[in-house]
């Protein structure tokens, strides 16, 4: 059992070493790994951003939403349409998507204000199911290209970033998606951190814990809920833009545009730890790792894995995911972050600095 004072030399040393290890890891992946691994991390970043956006609404404010896949789709489609039909440069589509999703998010939040709990879950479920059918609607085909989706960004049209050197072909695209994803991830993280650690964040938590009490203490419930929903929607749209830029294609059946996307965002947030800043990051990395490990399981698997799953020719990935989720809810209901905190508290404790009034 170790006891460290906040701001002491040991404390700073641990922080610096931790930061250096993180930077080393971040640089190691795109320079030393194979293309597939880089791509996995890039898509992981996209999912982390989406889970972070959901965290603002669900984790901090306590509003269930399983409709975030629609905002993801709005981002993806905004980018694709602007690039294909209007010749926009990919970078600017982030701003457009964020603005559009903010407006749509606020518009959806307004009627949803009166609805709570299970009703809210079902209404947002309706949003998630409605969105892909709208994309496929014949009357909107001029905009969305219907079921076939939009193929917008070509491999050779990626912007040049001198700092990354020459990016070509599949490898180049993966490296590009990695750094772009990381950049947007950092921006999203900073926005969330700024919100959560401020007056806004405290009013969100107050609303989550007791809405009436929050109102009594002077929190403007309507304004806070609507704006946070809008911000959350626009952050989720950023993830959608990223996904379009890195894969080049959006379709109404895209994994994250449909209800399944909302479920995955929710899952990542819960596994990592709802209502924590680092939760979505840890959850996202674990999800991508689990997903890629279990997808490989098939009839040709050897050893105990082959023995357990050898009888079927379908991938057991989703089954394992479901079981893992149940186990986490049973044994670590506060998510992995809660678990890590609990364990690390047994080993190291940090004594906070005494508050002095000068």
């Amino acid at each position: 059992m170790l006891n460290i004072k906040e701001g002491s030399v040991t404390h700073w040393a641990i922080r610096v070493v931790g930061a250096l290890l993180l930077v080393a890891f971040i640089v190691y992946i795109p320079t030393q790994s194979e293309t597939a691994r880089i791509g996995q991390f890039a898509s992981g970043f996209t999912l982390i951003i989406a889970a972070m956006s959901l965290n603002l609404v669900l984790g901090y404010t306590g509003q269930i939403s399983i409709g975030h896949s629609a905002f993801f789709g709005i981002g993806g489609y905004t980018a694709a349409i602007l690039i294909r039909d209007h010749g926009w440069s990919p970078g600017y589509t982030f701003y457009a998507a964020a603005v559009i999703a903010f407006v749509v998010g606020c518009l959806i939040a307004l009627p949803v204000l009166r609805i709570r709990g299970a009703y809210l879950a079902l209404v947002t479920l309706a949003v998630a199911v409605l969105f892909p059918t709208l994309l496929r609607w014949r009357k909107l085909e001029w905009l969305t290209s219907g079921a076939q989706g939009i193929d917008s960004v070509k491999y050779d049209e990626l912007p040049v970033w001198p700092i990354l050197g020459e990016l070509k072909g599949r490898d180049g695209r993966a490296v590009f998606a990695y750094w772009l994803g990381l950049l947007v991830l950092v921006v999203t993280f900073l926005i969330c951190r700024g919100l959560v650690k401020s007056r806004v964040g405290r009013s969100l938590v107050a609303i989550r814990d007791n809405e009436t009490a929050a109102a009594v203490m002077g929190v403007n419930i309507t304004r806070t809920k609507v704006i946070i929903f809008g911000i959350s929607a626009s952050l989720c749209a950023l993830a959608g833009v990223l996904s379009t830029l890195s894969s080049g294609v959006v379709t109404p059946d895209g994994q994250y545009v449909t209800l399944l996307g909302s479920i995955i965002f929710l899952l990542i947030m819960v596994v990592g730890g709802a209502g924590t800043l680092s939760g979505p990051i840890i959850g996202g990395l674990v999800y991508v790792w689990l997903d890629n490990t279990t997808r490989g399981i098939g009839t040709d698997s050897k050893g105990i894995v082959g023995y357990v799953f050898g009888w079927t020719n379908q991938s057991p990935a989703t089954l394992i995911l479901g079981l893992a989720l149940i186990v986490i809810m049973l044994f670590a209901p506060t998510g992995l972050v809660g678990l890590i905190r609990k364990i690390s508290r047994r080993i190291v404790t940090v004594t906070p600095r005494a508050i002095t009034t000068e």
Partner: protein, 299 residues
């Protein structure tokens, strides 16, 4: 007039199925306050079990009964093992667990019954081309009539169970105040497990009915039906069984009418959207559904 009647007939049968599944949602919600996202997938899994038992040579009627029993055990077992202990730790966690069940059951079914073209399911009712009665020019197929009768009969039995039996009284007492119910000696754990079981076995029946109408079952059998059912439960009010039935029938008839009379605008692709948008509008005016009771909150 003919067309109108035709749409109403078809709509009533589909609506009865939605109502059946929606009732499952309501029974669970009333008992425990939780939303069972896996209601549809439990029903789908039971339908495959029914198919399997039928395939082994057991007559379909008995297979359905065994499937409903299996559903009861599946639902009650899930509640007693997983749901209860998660609910104790974090109430919001139950919703997450039901999502996990949704994913897990769907995946497990597609692993066990892995023929990608699906499996042929027989209907419980006569289903030859000439099996229909003609009422005012509209054809009412026996299989649709059968579905409607079976669904309504089961709902009637359920209402009797709720209102006339000791078990129903226990269920209502647990729903209204679990603490007090336990204090006066109601075995609340048993009641909760039983309500999940009843919900799942109604799901099994609705699955078998859907399978019979479609003639084909795949692991995505119940997904759209579940969306309709959840729309019905929301529209009727999550804690109102009567509301779920009325809303289910309304949605069933409404979607047929909308798709039939506005084929250019709505048609088959958008009829689901009609149901979803209608719940949006209703909830705007009445946040707890048409027949749901408003929850009084204390600070």
């Amino acid at each position: 007039m003919e067309r109108l009647l035709q749409y109403v007939f078809d709509g009533l049968s589909f609506g009865a199925i939605y109502a059946l599944l929606a009732l499952g949602l309501v029974v669970v919600f009333r008992g425990t306050g939780h939303l069972n996202f896996a209601q549809g997938e439990m029903a789908m899994f039971c339908t495959f079990v029914i198919w399997q038992i039928n395939d082994w040579g057991v007559p379909l009627v008995f297979a359905v009964l065994i499937g409903m029993l299996f559903g009861f055990l599946l639902g009650a077992g899930t509640e007693a093992t997983v749901i209860r202990s998660v609910a104790k730790k974090s109430p919001g966690g139950v919703f997450v667990v039901s999502i996990a069940l949704f994913l897990g059951l769907n995946s497990l079914a597609s692993m066990i019954w892995d023929r990608s073209e699906g499996y042929t399911m027989k209907s419980l009712f006569p289903n030859k081309p000439e099996d229909f009665v003609r009422i005012l020019g509209a054809e009412w197929r026996y299989k649709y009539i059968g579905v409607l009768i079976v669904a309504l009969a089961l709902m009637g039995m359920l209402f009797l169970l709720f209102s006339k039996t000791k078990f129903g009284l226990a269920m209502r007492s647990v729903a209204s105040n679990p603490e007090s119910a336990r204090l006066v000696g109601v075995p609340s754990g048993l009641v909760l497990a039983a309500s999940w079981g009843i919900a799942a076995s109604m799901g099994a029946l609705s699955g078998a009915l859907v399978g019979g109408i479609n003639g084909q079952i795949t692991p995505s059998l119940m997904f759209t039906v579940f969306i309709y059912a959840s729309a019905a439960a929301t529209l009727g009010g999550l804690d109102s069984p009567g509301g779920a039935v009325i809303a289910g029938l309304l949605i069933g008839v409404g979607e047929q009418l909308a798709a039939g009379f506005a084929p250019g605008w709505i048609g088959q692709d958008l009829k689901l959207s009609v149901a979803l948008i209608s719940i949006f509008v209703v909830l705007l005016v009445k946040p707890s559904g048409l027949f749901g009771s408003l929850k009084v909150e204390r600070v």
